[in-house]
Symmetry: D2
Subunit: 432 residues, 4 copies
């Protein structure tokens, strides 16, 4: 993560302050549970809460000797708590603290991402409703197909981010587990009741079965949900980049006063924000592979996952948070040009009515194959010579017999294509 | 997919026979719905069901000219159905057929994979219960940690595959949608009722909003679920490969009479099946990246996703099906050596009791840091000189004062580590 | 690999016939070398060449019992060769045969791919020279920037594929090694002279140091070279897809008589070939990750790489071969529309001259910042109101003082942008 | 990149100080060339060198308004240089500066990585020579195969890193190009001589043909070379992790006084450094996919590559630098246990001589198949019952006839396996 693509709230989750705070809470809650079980004195648990403090510089200093971060933290904690500190971490292993802490951090990160998604969804719905009936050409293969509305375009992305919200919420639940199960997960040296108490206090659920660690398929599922969300961001970003192309100009990122598009060419207004998140999406997406490689740890654990998570945990969540927020801002301020949409819609001389003509011909008794050929013949002539499709049809004597001019009028009706917009909006947003 | 790593049922899903059968059913059900709406004659729908046939060689021939597979199919279908065929596919686009077909194929594939998982889960539970109390050393970092049971090891993997089953079931639901929404998803040329009817008949749900295609984040989620499952296979495979190492020999893949391990070395019995699925897992896992790249199609669709899905759809599902079945067989027939587990458990002279000694020292009033150092000092001496840990402790005069021999006897108790196995089994399997 | 995306020559490399033929040659050449060293009788080597045969069905049958493919082959070979067969494979390990065979197959595949690249390079050069001075607008961020020529566009891709050719040739050399070094690579049971002889005969170089296998970083480098080539294919494919967009129409894939673009919309002509290779590129690219994961085999080897290579070896080479050939055909037949390029070039009212005006202003004494602002002000007015940029400039009284109309005429010169085309062509093609 | 896995020299390359310094040099050298061509006054070029300064805080401030980093830099530069600054950047585009700067940064990074590799190679050679004839069991599939030497093991990795050094040197050359070609690479507004001059001064070569940017297949090749190197690190790391397993104990990472292996278990000494670089390798490796996705930019460029490079450029080079250095330290200080190697070598009762016995039987006239079966029969009996292989053979009356005891003595010779070590060392290190 780099400042350029970071927002402070998400960054804070990954800072030492937050991590040590969570470590402390895990240890202190565990002491409470141990005291309730009679394993350690009640005074010891109380002392931990009362005198528990830590100092990051001092922890770093101890870690340089012990080469073990949790031991360094515990040693520093003991320096503040005093003799009762010997009852801290009883029967626990470092991973009980580290993995439960990571679960808390990931749920915190997930909550920010879910809030980001809610804002993006709100922006998409607002703009979709605004342009519910703004006609625009639908394109498959980059080629004009049939009309749709700009609101329907945005509704498609709304639905995708809605699914991503559901996936991320499921992934949040997947990683929201607590393991306080001792050296290799047997609860030999610690009672399962401690895990239950800590889980409850930290907003987690007890892990079904842990080894020394919480199983990494959970984390892989979390990175996968982020990767899919990133890909949906890319999808929306590419849509906008296409719409802003010089030849299309149907929509444009907001360009602020004083902004400059190019050092060489003063005329430029580039879709740099959506290009930017397109790139960020690649980075978030690629983090799924190391997360998957982390699943196959050796026996009851090896620590190869740790460096991956120290790097990609912050990087992927911070980048995705940034990209979601940037995309929300783009949608919120997007400059839409309905008149250009109309211009593009009309540019091909009505070619997009070809299906309606073909269907009318089959209804008039022509086979599907013959109808297709007849329409294709006229469409290609119009396309290649930049002529008007309707005019071509009217000149085609064979077709004139089957499709009188009055019927053609009915077919070349732009409103026809939006007749079911309400149905679709009701499906997407709950109400039309 | 190659025959060596394929099973016939999964292969069949991806063969032309199945695909064309599904295409036909989609078209025929759509005709029924269109007839019910009065858009096409009831006789036409009836004719399609009655006379609908197709011939793969003929379809291929037509496709060579039209360069369009759905048109080739429809043309061939029309050759059998006759004039009423002109009412087939009315208002639909090819992707309505192709994407809905892919949804059916993926749900068929998911059903096989879920059945595979059920068999693997059954095998894991059976072997886990068999070895519920078979003691074995737990290892973190590849280093002896504390004892666990072989049943707990298997239970860990059971729980992972259980989660993968849930993820795959969710992914199945994610891709089980039907789109019959016309050229760019507006329902301009086809009534939403047709989609509802076809969805119901094909065991799917109507897509919330489609463009020309069903959105590809759904498919990406499916590939992600497969990728995580593959990684869990790798995890279990690596466990078995470790256990079969010459120095460990705690378990072994079944080696059949007549089997040969090496062309050069007749003494070899290698864990080739688990090595094999380790590699297959890499291939299934890597398919998630193209699936994620497929999400960002241009506008209302481009067809770049199609070649990816034609290649990776069969490849990944067939390979995962094969790997799951192979893994089930490995677990079912796994040769377990409890006596070797015991031998390894005892090999380090009781070092794995180090935590219990340390905890007893803290309970005896020593600080955590001093307890740690005292135990570490004796442990390292035992480790480096291959001496007995307990003997070292008894020789240590400082410790002898705090831990009388009788108390040491209580600490060096192998049964201690399995005292909570029932609790964990109840969590994993529903009952101990 | 699937027939739809396969070409026979590349497929043949991966068929059993070719594999067993190579295995036989390796074994027979090794016998020659062993006979020359006096390790085995000269008659034995002769017998192998004279009577050596094999039968695929029979090999399969033996493999079902032995579960070992090389042993099955050797057993079947012995059935034909007779008693002298006991001297075959002396001191060798299966991997000596398998890995050296894979080296041969990969060099065969590389040769096809290099030939593919030569054809693509030829097509690109031919079309680049044809359109060396065909003016077209250059676009950054999808936004009109400054003019370039269509030939320069193609020359860029030529240079990229030239680099890919070099990379693939280097990767070919990387995998073109032969290992005949015995069970764990020590040459304990076989003389290094055997390896040298076989290497020479098979067109390979002796591996510097092998374990039981040829090190997999070599193969990873080969897949990486293919992945980069695939990405360059995607780059060119996306260029063409953009140029074929309805709004752009500067170039178009050849659309054959009888071809149909859409089942629903007879007017459609879609860039399906370049979309297709865009998808194939994703698949080839993703194969690099499993190849990289294959590098870290355990100790002197584990066999996890094998399933990856059995799947991805054929899949990636066959797909890349197909994509290169398809791309060559697309370039060869590409329909180019210079008049549309001109139309697009002129569409923005001369905005692309903005840099020249700005530079002239700085030469006239204005600071860079003020020049920029003055030009940007007029450019934005032209852009937003679809007005002519030059006309705006002429109306701007402040600028009129610095840039008299005559000087403006000189700046608004379309030929200016192609004045260094010869220089660039000479760099790319060796001569202008 | 995070401090925990970063070394200062590599970090510095990516800091703003270095970036702006390079930008300045590019602009100033370009001015020199422009002055030599007479495009700008000689005094202007001189003024740039003499008065050129910049202030990072001020650049950030300007960028907040212009949203363009190069313009912000140029504006701030102009504030120091004065009126002559209007001649800076004449005819150039931002990417000329940015991409040439990235080329310089990547060559700087490559130089550090090459130096890292030299140190690792030196460490590997030193330890390989030290243990050139230290016998140890070679393992395939994790199963004892035949003896090798620990020096040969290290030599294998030496050869791999040698290849990676070559690949990285080639990749360095691939990215060491300079582009000063103007807005879309046509040299319309700037003479090719400027590019040549800047290239020479910055230690680069002129780019064959650029668009607005240097083509990204070059950068992808650089990331691919890093990814392969990372995979070789993983390979070596996994070897060491295996050797340190409790059951194997043939080598061990250095464990410093005061170090603690586990918070719970004082007896632990874990291979945490090699586990750590195993994880880092995953992260470096995964960066190759976004780099490949960056290749297919739109037309003459889009800026989606930029965020990928801002994130992964520093991350991957810093992480790889760290992992190489850490691996060098691990090798340098690796604690090797020849006596444990010997113990493991002998643990299977001579099973690893099986091939020699089989070959002797074929030389004695038995067919390969019968020899194999006879040896396998005795080997399996020894293996399953933990009996001595040689004793089994001597008891086998059938074999006793073919292999008299004296001949067996000759076969069971541990020195036999190292007889070609000198040959291999000469290949790997240039001299034995």
């Amino acid at each position: 993560m780099i400042p350029r693509y970071s927002r402070p709230e998400m960054v804070k989750i990954w800072e030492p302050e937050n991590r040590f705070r969570i470590w402390f809470e895990i240890e202190a809650h565990a002491c409470d549970a141990q005291a309730a079980l009679g394993v350690i004195p009640k005074e010891a648990a109380k002392a931990v809460w009362e005198r528990g403090k830590w100092d990051i510089a001092r922890i770093d200093e101890i870690e340089r000797e012990t080469k073990h971060d949790v031991i360094a933290f515990l040693t520093n904690l003991a320096e503040h708590v005093g003799p009762e500190a010997r009852f801290v971490h009883q029967g626990m292993t470092s991973s009980d603290v580290l993995d439960t802490c990571l679960s808390v951090q990931l749920t915190q990160a997930a909550d920010l991402l879910l809030a980001d998604l809610d804002l993006l969804l709100a922006a998409l719905e607002r703009r979709a409703r605004e342009h519910k009936r703004t006609p625009t050409i639908g394109r498959s293969h980059g080629i004009h197909a049939e009309p749709t509305s700009f609101g329907l375009k945005l509704a498609t992305h709304y639905a995708a981010f809605k699914r991503n919200r559901d996936r991320l919420a499921a992934a949040r639940a997947d990683v929201a587990t607590c393991a306080i199960s001792g050296a290799v997960g047997t609860f030999a040296t610690i009672d399962p009741a401690v895990e239950e108490h800590v889980a409850k206090k930290m907003g987690l659920t007890p892990e079904t079965i842990s080894t020394q660690v919480i199983p990494r398929d959970r984390h892989a599922a979390f990175f996968a949900a982020m990767a899919i969300t990133a890909s949906s961001i890319e999808n929306l970003a590419i849509e906008i980049r296409h719409l802003q192309r010089s030849e299309v100009r149907e929509a444009e990122e907001y360009f602020s006063p004083g902004q400059k598009g190019s050092s060489a060419m003063p005329h430029k207004r580039n879709p740099v924000l959506t290009e930017n998140v397109t790139g960020i999406a690649r980075v978030v997406r690629a983090a799924v592979i190391p997360a998957l490689e982390n699943v196959a740890l050796w026996h009851e654990r090896d620590i190869s996952h740790s460096s991956v998570e120290r790097l990609n945990g912050p990087d992927a969540t911070v980048a995705l948070d940034f990209a979601l927020a940037r995309m929300t801002s783009v949608i919120d301020k997007l400059v839409v040009y309905p008149e250009n949409m109309r211009r593009n819609l009309d540019a091909l001389g009505g070619l997009h009515y070809s299906q309606r003509v073909m269907l009318a011909l089959t209804q008039a008794g022509l086979s599907r194959e013959d109808s297709y050929k007849a329409v294709q013949r006229n469409a290609m002539a119009a396309w290649e010579n930049r002529r008007d499709f309707r005019a071509e049809l009217e000149k085609d004597e064979e077709l004139a017999k089957l499709l009188p001019k009055a019927q053609l009028d009915g077919l070349f009706d732009p409103d026809f294509y939006l007749r079911n917009v309400d149905v679709v909006f009701a499906r997407v947003f709950g109400k039309a």
